[in-house]
């Protein structure tokens, strides 16, 4: 087909499909996106999909069934680079919050009862790097258009994607928003990866943390800051866990150790 173009596959595991939809939401760029790369597989957008060898794959969604484990391993084998896109692929998503297997099992039973699934067995939701090597991460719930187009432009030109090691606060300050923490409102901006353009704070609402934890964030410091401000400890923990997926477990371990 297109010999000189980068071969790309876009795959969806378990999630809201928001990252794939966001790509379709690039209406003005969409025809160019399809022209710039050889998009071999993108089942939300096209039906003539080929599952062959690829240069780059973008994977959204968490791994939540055994079938998905197989699918993901196959994808990894077929491609040079694997990019995790979106909260579910990068940290496991909201569904990865039941980090304790027993807790997960209990809740699974509450929803599905004792019906035995005939098809693929369910798994506790995990980010894709629990099963395969991931080369790059593009966080977001869902990913942001600007960050996606940057990443896409770089990969079609064979350049490594940029990293965004900044919290929401950086953009928030550029936008000259009033800091909500100063007004004693529980805002997760300092812990959360940037990319949304500080959307919530710009609308007078606290950051919920939906981009997931930012690399190098000082979780412990924020935790104690919020505690000092009088927020209930359990509430802070829950709030922090909502969008941190499996990564939150490491953090709580760290706090425990520091307490000792």
């Amino acid at each position: 087909m297109n010999k000189d173009k980068v071969k790309i596959g876009i795959y969806e595991l378990t999630g809201c499909a928001g990252d794939a939809l966001l790509i379709l939401d690039c209406e003005n760029e969409l025809l160019d996106i399809f022209k710039a790369a050889d998009i071999q597989s993108f089942s939300m957008a096209k039906s003539d999909n080929i599952d062959g060898n690829l240069d780059v794959v973008l994977v959204e969604g968490s791994v939540s069934t055994e079938r998905e484990v197989e699918e993901l391993k196959d994808i990894r084998k077929r491609s040079q680079l694997v990019v995790a896109i979106g909260l579910c692929a990068t940290v496991g998503g909201i569904q990865a919050r039941f980090t304790n297997p027993k807790e997960w099992e209990k809740n699974f039973k509450k929803v599905y009862g004792d019906v035995k699934m005939e098809h693929t067995p369910p798994l506790q939701s995990k980010p894709i790097d629990d099963y395969v090597k991931v080369d790059y991460y593009l966080p977001g719930c869902p990913i942001g258009k600007e960050q996606f187009l940057h990443l896409f432009t770089r990969i079609v030109k064979g350049a490594p994607p940029e990293k965004y090691p900044r919290p929401v606060c950086v953009t928030c300050k550029f936008k000259e928003n009033d800091c909500l923490l100063n007004r004693d409102i529980l805002c997760l901006g300092p812990l959360t990866a940037d990319g949304c353009g500080a959307a919530c704070i710009s609308h007078n609402l606290p950051c919920v943390g939906c981009w997931g934890p930012v690399e190098g964030a000082n979780l412990t410091s924020e935790y104690y800051l919020l505690k000092e401000k009088g927020f209930d400890v359990e509430y802070i923990k829950k709030k922090m866990a909502n969008y941190s997926g499996t990564k939150i477990a490491e953090f709580f371990e760290k706090i425990k150790e520091e307490k000792k």
Binding site: L13, T14, G15, C16, A17, G18, D19, L21, L22, L24, D25, E27, N28, L30, L31, S43, M44, A45, K46, S47, D48, S62, V63, S64, T65, R67, E68, G93, I94, Q95, R97, F98, W104, N107, F108, K110, V111, Y112, G113, V115, K116, M117, E118, H119, T120, P122, L123, S125, C141, K145, C196, A199, C200, S202, H203, L205, V208, C210, K238, N242
Partner: protein, 580 residues
């Protein structure tokens, strides 16, 4: 026995498949399969504050995110007795229309139209149908802009909250939306014409029950306090389980729903069928022009109904903006003190009725129930695929089954992530009726019911067979005529299988014995009416799932025709197998 399947449904939102199993001349099994894993969203919200819920729950689905947000907020405001001002109410309606246009145009132009024009995707379609592709892209772009203006982001925007909005759009932004909507009208009319004039295949066609929200003030719209059914019945929002009574099926992480034991459909087609007379202006004119009786039976017309709804939205938006601008004050977010309560919120997501129900205790969510449109449609999707597959098979067009099922599933615009709980299916084909019978026996001692002599497809072998079994001293053999109200209901909750004995025309050689789950026979219009008396006599769903039909192919379909030797021989085999 063979299987026709679409393993990866392309151009739908999420990850799913559809398959039909064919045994000779009969389609024996159809399954709509979801490969998405379980996310347990309902459980994730338990223990959270109402505000956190309203942030987490819409993450179920990217396409319907604002519908989820809207339903969650409505439910929470009911539970917490929060009353919002008219401006908030109107702005929510506007954002919801953005989603309706975005989702419908995505579905029509990107997902559905390539099928009808013969392309694998919208990009290759654009090479020949540049104009259509551009309309689709522009319309979607406009709708996304509306959503972003009000909700703060394209997807999963957080600006709408319990009690109002974090920030209100400016007058300039709203006026821009209004004028752009007016500019779009010629393209919207083109869209209606395009999708209402497609020559939709007449297969599958069958009656169904349609359900949607009943919008207030006798208007067309996308929210309401009660559910309206095409039967004329209404159900108050707090009694939504009367409609949806979800149950889990082993082949899917999506729960299924039945209304009074029957599948029903929700979505644009349900809304236009139930509320079409309430459309106004150009929408009403177009409704008069294009609506026909076929819309009541053929799910493919969902595409046409979506196009009509896009027109409704574009006509409504300028008026809505004017109404919003009459309120110059931006009301602050309503606060509340209530810590206990329960409430239900109903809205129409683009693909149909969406219910959020919450119970709040000590200021935290203690129970969550979310019923999504695709979960409600799952039974009807399977049923219509069954009808299509069987009809094409009868016409010797087996090669068309795969694509037609694909078309039917896509017409429903299924939102697979949305079906908060969904996955797949592959059942081993069972050809040997003796083995099947033994398997049924393993589930419990069956109750046998002789059926027949009611119509032309019968030679009376079912009744005869039952009488013979009685004579041989087999326990719990009933005749159709002995079935009275609630007879099944009084049996021990479906633990014992029911085996109906009947003459069934499979277009096979006379005397051929076939065992089918009753479930699949019900999808077959020519057979199902015979079983309706049983269904109305208190057969619950558990029992329905545990019910089977043992059919013997008659020699002749004429009423009162004598039992042929081959049928008698088959009856002998059945008696032998049951009594031995």
């Amino acid at each position: 026995m063979k299987k026709i399947s679409v393993d990866h449904l392309a151009r739908v939102e999420g990850n799913g498949g559809i398959s039909a199993t064919i045994d000779g001349n009969a389609v024996t099994d159809v399954k709509f399969t979801i490969y998405e894993g379980p996310r347990l969203v309902e459980r994730l919200t338990v223990g959270r504050t109402p505000e956190e819920d309203v942030s987490i729950a819409p993450r179920i689905c990217a396409i319907c995110t604002l519908s989820h947000k809207y339903a969650a907020i409505r439910a929470m405001e009911n539970a917490l007795s929060v009353k919002v001002s008219p401006k908030v109410y109107l702005l929510r309606e506007l954002m919801h229309m953005g989603e309706m246009i975005e989702s419908h145009s995505l579905h029509l132009y990107f997902l559905a139209l390539p099928d009808y024009l013969g392309f694998p995707n919208v990009v290759s379609m654009a090479s020949k149908y540049d104009f259509e592709a551009k309309i689709g892209l522009e319309m979607k772009n406009f709708a996304n802009h509306v959503m972003k203006t009000i909700s703060a982001r394209y997807i999963h925007g957080e600006n709408p909250v319990i009690g109002g909005f974090g920030k209100y759009p400016s007058k300039e932004e709203l006026v821009w939306i209004k004028s752009r909507a007016i500019q779009f009208m010629p393209f919207v009319m083109k869209t209606v014409q395009l999708f209402c004039e497609i020559d939709y295949p007449d297969c599958p066609e069958d009656e169904t029950v349609f359900a949607c929200c009943n919008p207030p003030e006798n208007k067309f719209g996308f929210h309401g306090e009660e559910i309206l059914l095409s039967t004329g019945d209404t159900i108050d929002k707090d009694n939504y389980t009367n409609l949806t009574n979800e149950f889990v099926v082993p082949h899917s992480y999506a729960k299924h729903s039945l209304y009074q034991g029957k599948p029903f459909s929700v979505g644009a087609l349900a809304r236009v069928n139930n509320l079409g007379e309430r459309l106004e202006g150009e929408s009403q004119k177009m409704y008069q022009k294009y609506f026909s009786e076929r819309w009541k039976k053929n799910p493919l017309f969902n595409n046409a109904a979506q196009a009509l709804e896009i027109l409704h939205c574009f006509e409504r938006i300028p008026k809505l903006v004017d109404e919003i601008l009459e309120h110059s004050q931006n009301p602050p977010i309503q606060t509340y003190q209530v810590k206990e309560g329960k409430g239900t919120g109903l809205v129409e997501a683009p693909r149909g009725l969406l219910v959020h129900h919450y119970e709040i205790s000590e200021g935290r969510v203690s129970h969550t129930d979310i019923i999504t449109p695709t979960a409600q449609n799952a039974e009807d999707i399977e049923r219509y695929c069954y009808i299509a597959a069987q009809k094409l098979l009868d016409n010797g067009e087996e090669d068309k089954i795969r694509d037609r099922m694909d078309l039917v599933v896509r017409a429903y615009d299924p939102c697979i992530s949305c079906s908060a709980h969904l996955a797949e299916v592959k059942k081993a084909p069972q050809e040997n009726w003796k083995e099947q019978l033994d398997q049924i026996k393993q589930k419990g001692t069956p109750i046998f019911v002789g059926v027949g002599k009611k119509d032309h497809n019968d030679d009376g072998s079912g009744i005869e067979l039952a009488l013979h079994l009685k004579k041989r001293g087999v326990e719990d053999v009933w005749l159709e005529s002995e079935i009275e109200e609630d007879k099944f209901g009084r049996q021990e909750n479906g633990s014992r299988p029911l085996l109906f004995l009947d003459a069934v025309d499979f277009r096979e050689n006379p005397g051929k014995i076939t065992i089918l789950p009753l479930h699949y026979v019900l999808s077959n219009a020519s057979l199902s009416h015979r079983f309706l008396p049983f269904l109305s006599s208190g057969l619950n769903y558990q029992q329905l799932k545990n019910s089977f039909v043992l059919g013997i192919q008659p020699q002749s379909l004429d009423e009162g025709h004598k039992l042929s030797p081959s049928v008698r021989k088959a009856m002998g085999q059945v008696i032998e197998q049951i009594t031995h």
